[in-house]
């Protein structure tokens, strides 16, 4: 420890602490622009110059490490003189257009200028003008305001993983710019808006809509991925105008993904359903809540009375709150149905009943930075978990080895040690090879089911899988780690695969052999919570695939657009079409719900209270930040009144807090979570090793900005390059084999479903696969996300009706 003194206050700090960190600890405010605690030190703005005893020049506090006995003066004559002179330099070329600048009121330059700037400028020459850049639909630029602090450059390079912005030109001509004609495409790009200390980078969707002081700021939880990021929702006149990160070091640090930041634009969509509606003779009619609920209850009762409880299927979105999931389950139970599921995009349910507990991430979010060896199985990380991949990037920067087994070879923007890109069907074989290699390395064998033992006997370990096993075991090029901190994560592409059971079982076995943390990282904000509450079929119940393949008479949908949100869009549509009654609790009226009979408008996360449980098992409740739109009501209230109307006992909750209490049985939530989370399997799972299919396999990836009804309706997110029209994307070699060239029109078929798509080359796709995005109306008519698919070239100028 070092003893230093700042402005006469003594403080003890660690070796390597900089003056600015020490001052921050003491609560002494040193003005700064370029310094940011999460970014590398640039020392270019010079605003933090302070006087240090024995130095004749002022020193930048951000870049100067303290030495024992150092005496620092941040407010001395020489320090303030230096700071004021820098302030003057920063302002001479700044346009001072605060009245028309979006940053006004929350601008570091403005704030610090009040303290350090002169009332009148001495600069009478012509000011510099810098051309604005179009860097995409999310971030607006006013480059003349830029003070060249390079926070945005450093963020995109260090946190985002790719230097999409740079400082080009010398001297006064130095300007921040993207690559020629390129936009900034980072999935974390919105953070540069927060980082920009001036109004050079502002939010494009929010531009010119409100002044920061007119906004009411309310805390909430981001509902689009399993991270549970803390957000601050800014509201004016009852309307959500923007979303910013709320700092939470252990979850989202001070960042936010673009999806969580800009999804709010979908809340104000014209699609929003404002009143209950009933379909009468094929036409939608608006109605009141009482009529709608009584009608819905009557239908549910009639059908379950007539055909039994099993005639009802309940589908709950994995993004629904715990309260909504819990009450939906109570209703199903009250009506005698065990058919309820939240795992809408899953197709393999063979692990049901074989788990020891609720599958989860297996560790806490900050732990990700500490791992030495990581294996990711079947995940397009940046797409599924933008901020999680940023944590892993930090681990890799610290020397961790990242290994990937996946059907997609998308660049995670970090160094990958070993990767195997194969068809989903072949991933099982690859994992079995890793298991066999690991067993050899650790001189251990596990008690395995006979089927797996037979497979292991039979297969040969290839060099690339041997390398992955060696990496996970800690062996390295220059030195070997005797006890590496290792983690294996199973992602969404694996979870949605028909051979998920095999993949997960093998992952469990590998992690058991090398002592790795095993984690499941699914899409959806409340997957773990729904699983823990058991929003899943009972012993006699049907899982989601069965409910759609063996159609039910009635469906209750909670926040689900069936053909877009389910594993098999064609089957989902068919099931809805044939049902006698479909009751949808929904935020939006859309074509996807045309087959419904009753639409009940529920509130999105900003208009309801509720609870979400993150992948790491953190139970987080939030309140409504604004009043529900029109006649919308919080989902939990609608379900409660529906329960009352149905006359089911135990539906006397006065608040979402009451529901939460019921969920956790009056215990503190963390105690329940602590008992529940467990990734291990109860018993040996007999796995299917002989699935051999030589045909083409679909990779039905859900694009980053199509994952749920809200993001699908956010115009700025839909304008990004991640929103492409669905195509049949294949590896160049695959196209050659099929005799296709880019731009060809092909008829793709899955079972009875088909679609006409354009062929596009994508060398990130494993051979033997066709990447056809899901959650899009154009491909909703197709079948299973990861199922077999055929591709046929359509002769030019022949009209095809698919």
């Amino acid at each position: 420890m070092l003893n230093i003194e700042i402005d006469g206050k003594a403080v003890e700090v660690d070796h390597g602490t900089t003056i600015i960190d020490a001052a921050d600890q003491l609560g002494i405010d040193i003005p700064r622009f370029c310094y940011h605690k999460k970014l590398s030190v640039a020392a270019n703005c010079r605003m933090c110059l302070v006087q240090v005893e024995k130095f004749n020049k002022p020193l930048p506090a951000c870049a100067t490490p303290v030495a024992d006995g150092m005496k620092i003066y941040t407010r001395s004559k020489s320090a303030v003189e230096a700071q004021k002179s820098v302030m003057e330099f920063l302002l001479i070329n700044h346009p001072l257009d605060c009245p028309i600048c979006d940053q006004g009121g929350e601008c570091d330059l403005q704030d610090i200028a009040v303290a350090y700037g002169a009332p009148k400028s001495r600069y009478t020459e012509e000011k510099r003008v810098v051309l604005n850049k179009n860097i995409g639909p999310l971030v607006s630029t006013d480059m003349t305001r830029c003070i060249q602090c390079t926070r945005c450059v450093r963020f995109l390079k260090e946190v985002g993983g790719m230097m999409e912005l740079g400082l080009v030109g010398r001297g006064e001509h130095a300007e921040i710019t993207a690559y020629v004609d390129k936009s900034v495409n980072s999935e974390l790009s919105g953070n540069i808006i927060d980082l920009c200390p001036v109004g050079a980078l502002t939010s494009k969707p929010f531009r010119y809509t409100a002044r920061s002081w007119e906004l009411t700021r309310r805390p909430s939880i981001a509902p689009h991925d399993g991270l549970g990021s803390h957000i601050e929702v800014h509201v004016k006149d009852g309307k959500v105008l923007r979303v910013l990160p709320r700092e939470k070091e252990s979850i989202n640090e001070c960042w936010l993904s673009d999806r969580d930041r800009f999804s709010y634009e979908g809340l104000n969509s014209p699609d929003r359903l404002k009143v209950p509606m009933i379909k009468h003779n094929g036409a939608w009619q608006e109605t009141d809540w009482k009529t709608a609920l009584e009608f819905a209850a009557g239908q549910l009762k009639d059908i379950t009375n007539q055909y039994g409880g099993e005639a009802l299927g309940v589908l709950v979105s994995p993004n629904s709150t715990m309260e909504e999931g819990f009450l939906a389950k109570q209703i199903a139970k009250g009506l005698g149905s065990q058919n309820i599921d939240y795992r809408l995009r899953q197709t393999d349910f063979r692990l049901d009943g074989k788990r020891l507990g609720t599958p989860w991430m297996g560790c806490n979010i900050p732990d990700l930075e500490q791992f030495d060896r990581i294996l990711i199985i079947g995940s397009n990380l940046r797409n599924e978990h933008p901020l999680l991949s940023q944590r892993i990037r930090k681990a890799v920067a610290n020397g961790a080895e990242l290994n990937i087994i996946s059907p997609l070879d998308n660049n995670p923007l970090m160094a990958v040690k070993h990767k195997v890109v194969v068809r989903p069907n072949d991933m099982v074989n690859v994992l079995a090879q890793v298991l066999k290699a690991m067993s050899g390395l650790q001189r251990l064998s596990l008690c395995l089911p006979p089927s797996l033992n037979a497979l292991l006997e039979e297969i040969n370990v290839r060099a690339n899988t041997q390398a992955i096993a060696e990496s996970l075991a800690g062996l390295g090029e220059s030195y070997d780690l005797v006890s590496p901190k290792t983690a294996i994560f199973v992602g969404n592409l694996a979870l949605n695969d028909p051979r998920f059971t095999e993949m997960f079982s093998l992952a469990e076995a590998i992690s058991g052999l090398c002592g790795a943390t095993l984690g499941l990282i699914p899409a959806g904000s409340n997957n773990t919570g729904q699983h823990m509450m058991g929003v899943m079929p009972g012993p006699q119940g049907m899982h989601v695939r069965a409910m759609l393949e063996i159609p039910r008479k009635a469906y209750l949908l909670v926040n689900v657009e069936p053909e877009l949100d389910c594993h098999n869009g064609a089957a989902a549509r068919k099931a809805m079409q044939q049902a006698e009654c479909v009751i949808a609790l929904t935020m939006y009226k859309s074509e996807a719900l045309d087959d419904a009979d009753i639409l009940l408008p529920i509130a999105p996360f900003t208009e309801t209270s509720g609870t979400l449980m993150s992948m790491e098992g953190r139970v987080q409740s939030f309140s409504a930040v604004t009043k529900p739109l029109g006649e919308c009501r919080p989902g939990w209230k609608v379900l409660r009144v529906l329960g009352n109307t149905l006359g089911i006992a135990g539906f006397d909750y006065d608040s979402s807090e009451d529901v939460k209490k019921a969920i956790f049985g009056g215990e503190k939530p963390s105690a329940v979570v602590w008992r529940s989370l467990n990734n291990n399997l109860k018993e040996l799972v007999e796995i299917e090793v002989n699935i051999k299919s030589d045909g083409l396999q679909r990779i039905g990836e859900v694009p980053m900005y199509q994952i749920d009804p809200i993001v699908r309706r956010s115009p700025p997110l839909q304008k990004t390059k991640y929103n492409r029209k669905p195509m049949a994307m294949m590896h160049a070699q695959q196209m050659l084999t099929l005799g296709l060239v880019a731009g060809d029109q092909v008829l793709v078929r899955q079972g009875e479903g088909s679609a006409v798509l354009e062929v596009r080359q994508d060398d990130h796709v494993a051979l033997g696969c066709v990447r056809v995005q899901a959650a899009n109306p154009l491909t909703a008519s197709l079948g299973e996300l990861m199922g077999d698919i055929t591709v046929e070239k359509i002769a030019a100028n022949v009209a095809v009706t698919a």
Binding site: A43, R46, F89, L90, E125, R128, R170, G171
Partner: protein, 434 residues
């Protein structure tokens, strides 16, 4: 040889000792004059690195790039025991107006530079060296590449030199003409393939240099002095000069003299002697002012420089500094306002733009001086110029800020009446005097 042809007999040739020969730049010439003998002796006799550094310290050789930092001391900063590659860098990024000495060393005596660098590499344990040559002297880059090829073929650089286990690879690297790349950390960034921008120091190159490895950076003239020192001993080099300034110095004399060019003279030579070698002021005019070490050193009015000796202490006492020895001589027809405008424009154009005071301040200074030169000056501009210059000085990442401030401060200080005249009359005091 035009730039060197004058009064060779009066010069003391150390770094340019081949200049009097018929083919000065060739390997044969250099070897004939005893070249590479020192390298061979040091390597084959396994002379101790500490002994070499002792000689360099005794020689009182100070950095010829402008800062005048003692070379021997700098060498002793390099980590002796380091498990990994260490680098040697030669700074031939000669880009300041009025500076043209290093290019003549490369043109007329490249092998002495190569030998000096090889001796330095041996002493400091560097395996790889780079000579970073300014992008606007392309010919020198080609000459140096040719000299490297000769030296490589003759076994003076490369693997296992003279049968020893000492190996040294030397490469020529060229910049694209940015002045800032003469700043050693910007130069290092440029070698690494990045935009040439100075790094914040510490860490210094000796601990974190090229590719993050310990690196020694010296000027061309400094390296070229090493073989002479090793041949004659540190003391002999010191004795060529005066106290605190050992050896000889190449002065690039330009401006209003009869014979502009490079002159290698002993440290401590009176200014008047050098001026005489250069043929005196042209057209029979009077000396008005001299910038003695390049634009980043303070301008000296005639009365201050005429009595001065040319060494570090001598010029410092007279109110300026030796810098890189780039003498810009101005006669009495020179308009100081316009001269300063040109210098300010240079720093305005060459600021890298990284840190605030220099990026914003150099443009401000230039615009104010330009405005004065266009007859739009205001009396308070002179205090403003002084103030803005002082605000840049000492507050930037590298020394370019100070370099940009110095001419403004010194011009306004020494020639204030001329600036006031220009502001009052809207025209120059010295031009169009009829």
């Amino acid at each position: 040889m035009t730039a060197l042809a004058h009064n060779l007999e009066k010069q003391t040739l150390v770094t340019l000792r081949t200049i009097t020969e018929p083919h000065p730049g060739s390997l044969d010439t250099y070897v004939k004059l005893g070249g590479y003998a020192q390298l061979k002796r040091i390597v084959t006799e396994k002379v101790k690195a500490t002994d070499i550094i002792t000689q360099i310290k005794l020689s009182n050789l100070r950095g010829r790039g402008g800062a005048g930092f003692p070379t021997g001391l700098k060498w002793s900063f390099m980590p002796r025991y380091y498990d990994g590659t260490k680098y040697l860098v030669c700074n031939t990024d000669e880009g300041e107006p009025g500076t043209f000495k290093d290019r003549d060393i490369i043109r007329y005596n490249p092998h002495q530079l190569i030998e000096g660098m090889a001796i330095a590499a041996y002493t400091l344990g560097a395996r790889v060296g780079y000579n970073y040559i300014h992008g606007e002297i392309w010919e020198d880059y080609e000459i140096f590449e040719a000299a490297l090829a000769e030296a490589r073929a003759a076994g003076y650089i490369g693997e296992n030199l003279f049968g020893s286990n000492f190996s040294f690879d030397l490469h020529a690297v060229h910049g694209y003409g940015a002045y800032i790349c003469g700043e050693e950390t910007a130069l290092i960034e440029s070698i690494e393939g990045k935009k040439g921008q100075p790094r914040f120091k510490p860490p210094f190159p000796a601990s974190f240099g090229v590719f993050g490895k310990p690196t020694n950076v010296n000027n061309t003239e400094s390296y070229a002095s090493i073989p002479w020192i090793m041949q004659h001993g540190g003391e002999a080099f010191q004795n060529l000069g005066v106290y605190n300034s050992g050896g000889t110095k190449l002065f690039s004399v330009s401006g209003h003299v009869v014979n502009p060019g490079n002159y290698e003279v002993r440290m401590g030579t009176p200014f008047t002697e050098l001026l005489e070698m250069a043929g005196g002021i042209w057209k029979g005019r009077e000396l008005k002012a001299v910038i003695p070490g390049g634009p980043s050193t303070a301008v000296m009015p005639a009365k201050n420089i005429l009595g001065a000796t040319l060494d570090y202490d001598g010029l410092s006492k007279a109110g300026s500094s030796l810098g890189a020895g780039s003498m810009i001589v101005m006669d009495d027809s020179t308009c100081m306002v316009k001269a300063l405008k040109r210098l300010s424009y240079f720093f305005f154009e060459e600021s890298c733009g990284q840190c605030t005071p220099c990026r914003e301040g150099t443009g401000w200074l230039y615009r104010v001086i330009k405005r004065i030169s266009e007859g739009q000056g205001r009396m308070e501009d002179l205090d403003l110029l002084t103030d803005v210059s002082s605000n840049i000085s000492g507050r930037t990442i590298c020394a370019l800020g100070d370099a940009a401030a110095t001419p403004v401060l010194s011009f306004v200080k020494h020639f204030r009446p001329e600036f006031e005249y220009y502001i009052q009359h809207g025209r120059s005091m010295v031009e169009n005097r009829e």
